[in-house]
Amino acid sequence: MSHNTRREFLRHSAALATLRAVSPWALQLAGIGAAAAASDPRDYRAIVCLFMRGANDCHNTVVPLDRAGYDGYAAARQDIAIPRNELLPIKPGNAQGREFGLHPSLAPVQALFDKGNAAILANVGPLIVPIKDANTFRSTTIARPPKLFSHNDQEAIWQAFSPEGAKMGWGGKMCDLLSGMNGKHTFTAISTAGNAVFLASEKTVQYQITNSGAVAFNRLAAKDIYGSTKAAEALRAQIQSGASAMGGEVLAQEYGNVVGRSIEAQGLVSAALAKLPENDARIALPADLDKDRLAQQLRIVARMIGVREDENMQQRRQVFYVSLGGFDTHDNQLAKQAELLTSVGKSIAYFQQAMEALGVADKVTLFTASDFGRALLNNGDGTDHGWGGHHFIVGGAVKGGQLYGQFPEVALRTSTDVGNGRLLPTTSVDQYAATLGKWMGVSRSDLPVVLPNLGNFASADLGFLG
């Protein structure tokens, strides 16, 4: 353990000690993380959450291809069913020969799946306890997440197990436990897509980066501004004074804290990223993705991962958040979803290739999430809000080419249909998160700190990571 890391670790432990009353595991956890780091200085792991905002329609993303399965799907979907011969076939190794079809825009994911670098997790969604079937959901008061089917709330619940206004997400809580391994704590949690509650926690403050890196305050070091030699100093003092000199003003202090982090981080980020510019062949975007909103986010993630060992970074555990909006396909779904999934598929493939080029493919795992799945019934040319959905996990450490969880029967009035083909999830977000958390190095006894309802579910490891 370097001097610096050790000091950070002690500071971290002290900080956590004050939390003991709330989370008795926390201190012990930090110790385990730091010990693991000490054993392997090159040790690195990162997870990247790709959040599809607006709720991706799961039913048109992964479709059963066997005759009975497809017919049930087509009968329910009617005008917005994807023709069977346009779906991209995949044959999960663990599905007893059953075939599925990916959305026609997901050819790059099909290729990753076939190569064993991508897996599917079927019908996952927020749950508090397992709910046996739709009838139990309807006819009992069994515990269920609040505010089902509401975008902003379910987005927060996916990320933080609590509706809008949630304060701590499971990505952030993992960072609380793991950031002791990093030289610069500031870069443990990084968002390219605004302030995500996924990355929020007691101690972790996410760093929001732009697609091209950090933005510097101009003229803070200018010799003079308009001829005033005191102006630059005054400018710095004015922009930073919120954090300290405002007599406890709550909002000013919060704004000032962001300014402080901005200035501190910008120098480090810019210095580090200069060593891996956008046009570096390992992470450069192909021409067709140059303007892609999602690929641009993944490029800055790739660059940050590429410079993880730089003296300005010193990262061993990182959690990233990227997102793409527009999935709320109440109408014109066929065209809209195709466009969005094209971006998702190509961007994921780009990212996997970049990770391979940087030699970290087995150290970085990307996974998808979304507000909820969508109803199976169509409403004319689109679909309405659902609950469970299917997701992808991609990376060199993924036991790919497999389908995890239970693929639902795609039809109406099944045991997982809570109405109009909204799926009752058969795997909980907690289990999904626990599998990722374990891989990141959060120990089994510590997972309940991050995932309070985990103990309600049979398995804490879904097996999709090695």
Partner: protein
């Protein structure tokens, strides 16, 4: 398809039809008459300049020194009365010339609406109306980011609809929001078809959900003071998914404004491009005739359902829900005054919503008065409350700069552009929210913050990030220095007039006090004032070179403005 004969027939029939369908085929030019208590001449004392500036920063897009001075000779109530009597400024006529000049295959551009917005915000005399309309645009959200990307007539018309209803009544407002084709496109209830049991098709639920969750009653039952009602210690949800399914049937059968309401009119707007600016109408042949149950109301099944009648029942039900006052009132307080109003403040606004003093519910004028004239909004005590106020959102910072310095447009149109980029602009453009949930949520809590620890909210902090704080500071520095807008001949279109400030600039103290009053309502801390004065004082004004002296005075104004507009006392509006 072009059908001259049919168009001719329409033209002949038009006056007759207008008479019968007026309420559904065009927007009313005047809001419906509302009984209101008589306005007595106000006996309020005149405010000080600082009090006047503070009030005008809440009630307008930012005050000029002339407006501050005028208000110190009047009072708040009289000012509101006078604003409420001021004729509405329209944005649609600023878009129409571009529309008329379009050639085949061309589309309107978003910049045309941005210019109309900034011109109106910066120069319109009906400032209170426009400022409230902007607040409403952040509650009843539509966005040109998506299907409306070239529908600038619809966007401007929607803006004007909000502004028209800003001083009307809430019941009319929500119906016009619900019938607006921009909303119909955005939340996909335009051309929403009734269910088809044979094909297994169900009505689109999007609007039914959001009109309840975001526009009227919210998710949980509220006390009149905005706090949650509890049953067995738990919040009570206002509706279930069954209510949404029921209400979704009401919002079927609405589509493009048309006189005939023929099948092809429902499906195809092609024949009449004015659909963008006409209220949606009900097409009963596409409207669900099955039973509709929602929020305790049952509309029985009917073989001859009426979309318009059902909409009225639904709107009345939502309007009369006890949640509307606290749900809407609290958000209006947040948009105009403070992020964390006390329950008592919310209750007073709810009471005004519920009864304007003449027994009328939903009188927007009463609600606006209650929000702006409340003791909590006006008192000096709240200035000392460390939790009071709101982060001034980026659009309002730029509008305030324009108005404080009487900015004018060289081309005349306020030639503006998309200011979405947080890294080099505002991180916010009017009518371009990323989703129907606005740029930020009313309940947003910055993670891991003092705000969170104190159980407060800070909505505008949702768009504040490590990148945006620097992006804004750099952008405003450039604006203060060289103006804003598209440049022609190396000069940006929107230029400030700093002459009034330059006239004071020989005295640093007078200059800083003036800018402090103008931009922060004299809320700069003594340390800030001292720092700004010292830095400004370093700019020497040469005694014997008039040209250089004018430049130095201008530079003093620019520096004092910059150091004020990046300060926390400015960024947090109290």
């Amino acid at each position: 398809m072009f059908r001259p004969l049919q168009l001719l027939a329409l033209a002949v029939a038009l006056p007759l039809l207008l008479a019968s369908c007026a309420s559904h085929m065009s927007w009313p030019s005047e809001p419906r008459a509302i009984p209101r208590p008589a306005r007595l001449a106000s006996t309020e004392p005149a405010p000080t300049p600082a009090e006047a500036s503070r009030f005008l920063q809440q009630a307008t897009f930012g005050p000029s020194m002339g407006e501050i001075e005028a208000l110190t000779r009047s009072n708040f109530s009289s000012w509101v009365d006078q604003q409420m009597a001021t004729k509405q400024t329209l944005t649609a006529p600023l878009i129409e010339p571009y529309y008329k000049a379009l050639k085949k295959g061309e589309n309107l551009k978003q910049d045309q609406y941005f210019s109309a917005f900034w011109k109106t915000s910066a120069t319109a005399p009906d400032q209170l109306r426009q400022r409230v309309a902007f607040a409403l645009s952040e509650i009843f959200v539509i966005s040109m980011d998506g299907m409306l990307d070239v529908k600038m007539r619809a966007i401007a018309n929607y803006h004007d609809m909000l502004a028209r209803n800003a001083f009307g009544d809430f019941r009319t407002l929500i119906e016009e929001v619900s019938r607006h084709p921009a909303m119909g496109v955005y939340l996909s209830h335009l051309r929403n078809l009734k269910e088809d049991p044979v094909k297994g098709r169900v009505p689109d639920e999007n609007y039914a959900r959001e009109v309840m969750q975001l526009f009227t009653i919210g998710l949980q039952e509220l006390n009149p003071d905005g706090t949650l009602k509890l049953r067995n210690g738990e919040p009570i949800e206002t509706y279930t998914n069954e209510d949404i399914t029921g209400l979704a049937k009401v919002f079927t059968g609405f589509s493009y404004g048309s006189f005939e309401r023929a099948d092809q009119d429902f499906h195809n707007a092609g024949r009449n491009p004015d659909w963008e600016i006409r209220p949606m109408v009900g097409y009963n042949q596409f409207h669900s005739g099955s039973e509709k149950r929602f929020l305790g109301v049952t509309i029985p099944a009917s073989q001859f359902p009426s979309a318009d009648d059902d909409l009225k029942i639904a709107m009345d039900r939502l309007f009369n829900h006890p949640n509307v006052g606290p749900f809407f009132g609290r958000q209006l307080i947040q948009r105009l005054v403070t992020s964390n109003p006390s329950p008592a403040y919310v209750r007073r606004v709810t009471e005004a919503f519920n009864n304007n003093g003449a027994g009328v519910r939903g009188d927007m004028q009463a609600v606006i008065r209650a929000v702006l004239l409340d003791p909590e909004a006006r008192s000096a005590a709240s200035l000392k409350d460390a939790g009071f106020g709101k982060v001034r959102e980026p659009i309002l910072r730029l509008s305030q700069w324009m108005r404080a310095f009487n900015a004018t447009s060289i081309a005349g149109n306020f030639d503006m552009y998309n200011t979405d980029n947080p890294g080099n602009a505002l991180g916010q453009s009017p009518m371009r929210s990323p989703t129907v949930f606005n740029f930020y949520r009313p309940g947003y809590v910055p993670p891991g913050s003092m705000v969170a620890k104190r159980n407060m909210v800070a909505p505008e902090m949702q768009i504040v990030s490590e990148s945006s704080v620097a992006g804004y500071a750099n952008f405003i520095q450039s604006v203060i220095d060289g103006g804003v807008g598209r440049a022609a001949n190396n000069k940006r279109d929107i230029q400030p007039d700093y002459s009034a400030q330059m006239a004071l600039a020989d005295s640093t103290d007078r200059l800083v006090a003036h800018i402090d009053l103008l931009l922060t309502a004299s809320q700069l801390s003594p340390e800030s004032r001292r720092r700004i004065s010292e830095a400004v004082n370093e700019i020497r004004i040469p005694a014997n070179n008039p040209t250089q002296a004018e430049n130095a005075r201008r530079n003093r104004v620019k520096l004092a403005t910059l150091l004020t507009m990046v300060s926390p006392e400015y960024l947090v509006q109290k």
